[in-house]
């Protein structure tokens, strides 16, 4: 063990996602409600099977994201190494165009008010936010939501294409689920590796991957580099932007906005310890199917005294070690063994993991008239139903069905074990032992997955002031730093002088400003809701107009 580092990570329990898109909307409201980022969804929720966002992003033969092994088995960027990047910098050969996302639009709302009196009701026509012209809406971030246009659109799903023809047809009847996605804050981020100016970086304290807005020069190579297509190009500022893991929130111990507002309460946040010196080695294992195990091997056991000693040596604070021991992420990956990484074959070692959904299997079983909660039935169905398992395996384990099957069996065991308890029947230990667990462990897992108490879902240690010379988050240089809001003032009045960095203190200033009403251009406040300093209690500031004070 040579270099211990800490990483904030997320797990999402897909069985509980109802596809409501609340996470996407609150994220957008917080981070990307500006001109230039209309099409930017740091968080998106895609229906699987489906094309994803941007369309078919998972097809790396087309989009060239992530890493691959060269002929001599060494790791290299799929889109080409350093020299190749510099030679093609003048026009990136594989950058997705706005049409691969969608052309964002608004409506001519004004016409509803300004139209002259007439017999027909006036219509607000759609207008492109890119060209300013009237437009026809033909695609969006969620066009194939809930399998809309299924037979036409779903076959372009790159995962389906990898499966056999006959499977495709059955499958449309059989199953569908939602996949919420944010940046993976990878251990081996190919976006960072692709950035020619070195503006993208992984924070050494918590592993969050950020873009330094002052150093980004708009070479737009990161967009290609990320296989998950989670770096977006702001076409107004000419700079790359990406999910920030809501660093200003997690630094003070609050969960990310997407987690906080998740209706299904399916997101878990916590700390993992990993060995930074083994990252490249793990990303380089020859067989893609071994990547999942190799990835797990990079993660360290926070209860191991050797690990703790090494972590102390490497400057990881005590409360972070404590948080790592209580980490729900570590439990879900190791103790319960139900979390899997998304597309390990991209070799970036992603750090947002997923508990695959059992519901497709349960549904299929129930459709055949069987009891979908009975352990025997479920185990049988997991083994028999090749299709959902094969699909999930393409997503989470580079096509290896065994780990997926093992996870689904555990989830199935939990289901039937807990149902017996619910129905007042005696506990049946054999269900637990059939999946290599104990009844006690299953109940513990049930507590974390089903009851999902707030402080068990989110175990987030605060950032340490003593780790940095200054309390305020200076290095992070994310897009929010540029908001006019957080208390900028200087010799030439508001908005002159040096921009102040984002920090909790400045959030309070922002709040005061929002409430005081004075001296702020009303244009500027209109429609600006700040969810960043909202703790989930009461109403967020600015969601509704301030009550007029009686004078």
């Amino acid at each position: 063990m040579t270099r211990v580092m800490a990483q904030l990570a997320m797990v999402m329990n897909l069985d509980k996602c109802i596809g409501c898109h609340t996470c996407s909307v609150t994220c957008k409201q917080t981070w990307t409600n500006r001109a230039g980022t209309e099409y930017v969804w740091f968080n998106n929720v895609e229906t699987r099977p489906g094309q994803g966002y941007p369309r078919t992003y998972q097809d790396q033969e087309k989009w060239q994201g992530g890493w691959e092994l060269d002929r001599r088995g060494r790791l290299r960027l799929k889109a080409g190494g350093r020299l190749r990047k510099l030679l093609t910098i003048f026009a990136n050969p594989v950058m997705p165009s706005i049409q691969d996302y969608y052309e964002p639009w608004t409506y001519d709302y004004d016409r509803l008010f300004s139209a002259p009196v007439q017999d027909s009701t006036p219509v607000a026509r759609p207008r492109s936010l890119i060209s300013g012209e009237p437009t026809k809406i033909t695609w969006s971030a969620n066009w194939d939501d809930n399998l809309a246009g299924g037979p036409e659109l779903a076959p372009s799903d790159p995962i389906l294409k990898r499966m056999s023809e006959q499977v495709t047809l059955d499958f449309e009847r059989a199953f569908m689920f939602y996949l919420p996605r944010i940046c993976e804050h990878c251990l081996n981020p190919s976006c960072v590796a692709s950035c020619p100016s070195g503006a993208m970086y992984k924070r050494s304290e918590d592993g969050i991957v950020l873009v330094d807005q002052d150093r980004c020069r708009g070479w737009r190579m990161c967009v290609t580099g990320c296989p998950y297509k989670k770096v977006y190009f702001n076409h107004k500022t000419g700079k790359a932007e990406k999910c920030t893991f809501c660093y200003p929130r997690v630094e003070v111990g609050l969960p990310t906005v997407c987690s906080e507002t998740c209706v299904g309460r399916l997101r878990y946040l916590g700390v993992l310890l990993y060995d930074a010196d083994r990252v490249t080695e793990a990303a380089t294992v020859p067989d893609e199917k071994d990547l999942f195990e190799a990835h797990k091997n990079v993660l360290l056991d926070p209860n191991d005294p050797d690990v703790v000693a090494a972590a102390r040596r490497d400057g990881i604070p005590e409360d972070w070690l404590e948080a790592a021991r209580r980490s729900p992420i570590h439990k879900l990956i190791f103790d319960f063994g139900v979390a899997l990484p998304l597309h390990p074959e991209f070799r970036t070692l992603p750090m947002v993991w997923y508990i695959p959904p059992l519901s497709p299997v349960v549904d299929a079983l129930a459709n055949t008239g069987h009891d979908g909660e009975e352990a025997g039935n479920l185990f049988g169905a997991i083994d028999a139903l090749r299709i959902p398992v094969e699909y999930l395996a393409e997503l989470f384990t580079a096509g290896d069905p065994e780990p997926v099957r093992a996870v689904l069996r555990r989830l199935a065991a939990m289901r039937s074990y807990m149902r017996r308890i619910n129905l007042g029947r005696p506990r049946k230990e054999s269900i637990a032992t059939a999946v290599g667990m104990t009844g006690e462990k299953i109940e513990e897992m049930h507590r974390l997955l089903a009851i999902a108490a707030y402080d068990e879902r989110y175990v987030i240690p605060k950032a340490h002031a003593e780790q940095g010379a200054r309390l305020e988050e200076l290095a992070t240089g994310c897009s929010l730093d540029y908001e006019g809001g957080p208390g900028m003032s200087g010799p030439f009045g508001e908005a002159s002088g040096r921009p102040r960095p984002v920090a909790v203190e400045t959030f309070h200033a922002l709040k005061e400003r929002q409430e005081s009403g004075a001296l702020v251009d009303p244009e500027e406040r209109a429609g600006r809701v700040n969810l960043l300093n909202w703790d989930g209690k009461g109403l967020p500031d600015g969601l509704f107009p301030n009550r007029k004070k009686e004078s």
């Binding site: 608004t106 950035c195 980004c216 702001n234 076409h235 940095g468």
Partner: protein, 248 residues
Amino acid sequence: MNALDLILWGIAPYLALTVFVLGHVWRYRYDKFGWTTRSSQLYESRLLRVGSPLFHFGVLMVLLGHVGGLVVPKSWTEAAGVSEEMYHVVAVVLGTVAGVCTLAGLAILIYRRRTVGPVFIATTRNDKLMYAMLALTLVLGLSATVVANVLGGGYDYRTTISPWFRSVFAFQPEISLMAGAPLLFQLHALSALALFAVWPFTRLVHMLTAPIGYLTRPYVVYRSRDLGGERGTRPARRGWEPAGPPRR
């Protein structure tokens, strides 16, 4: 030497270079957030993929050519055994090829700017001025070469313009050398000076941060929360307008 010559070849170069240098320093310190290529590839790729490499490789060759022609004294190349004729032929051929590539690339880029709707909307007045000056300088430079060498009997700028160029940097400007140069060369030099003077205030600043360091740095960059470095002092607001259809 009259007053005009003094102003054009003895004073203007210093003004332009001072603005170029101080302008970059100021821009870098004040407006790091604005320091970008402002790539428009998200809107359009097909034309860009032809025009941009053509223009950039061309212009880099042109830059190299200028370094060779203006900075390296004639005596050096002669000492290295390169005869005037040889030098001349190579320079004219390479220079014309590079110039034509650059100009063709620029034409494609400007055509794209004008005809592709979203790209046109994203073109600022600053961009337009920059394109005008860039195009003017290029056209003048190319025509000076063509007129002098292909149509005329050839002009050895390495005995007049180049020594003047070097003399500027020696702070002993030999004004008369340049005052006697053909008109097209003079105009080319003047428009180039003007281009240098606006350079730091346009998107052309991206050239100065060409990412050569990428070749040697490790792939994954780790950075601590507190190692921020200095950031621009400009209260950057661009990109924080509320969303809405672009104004024409």
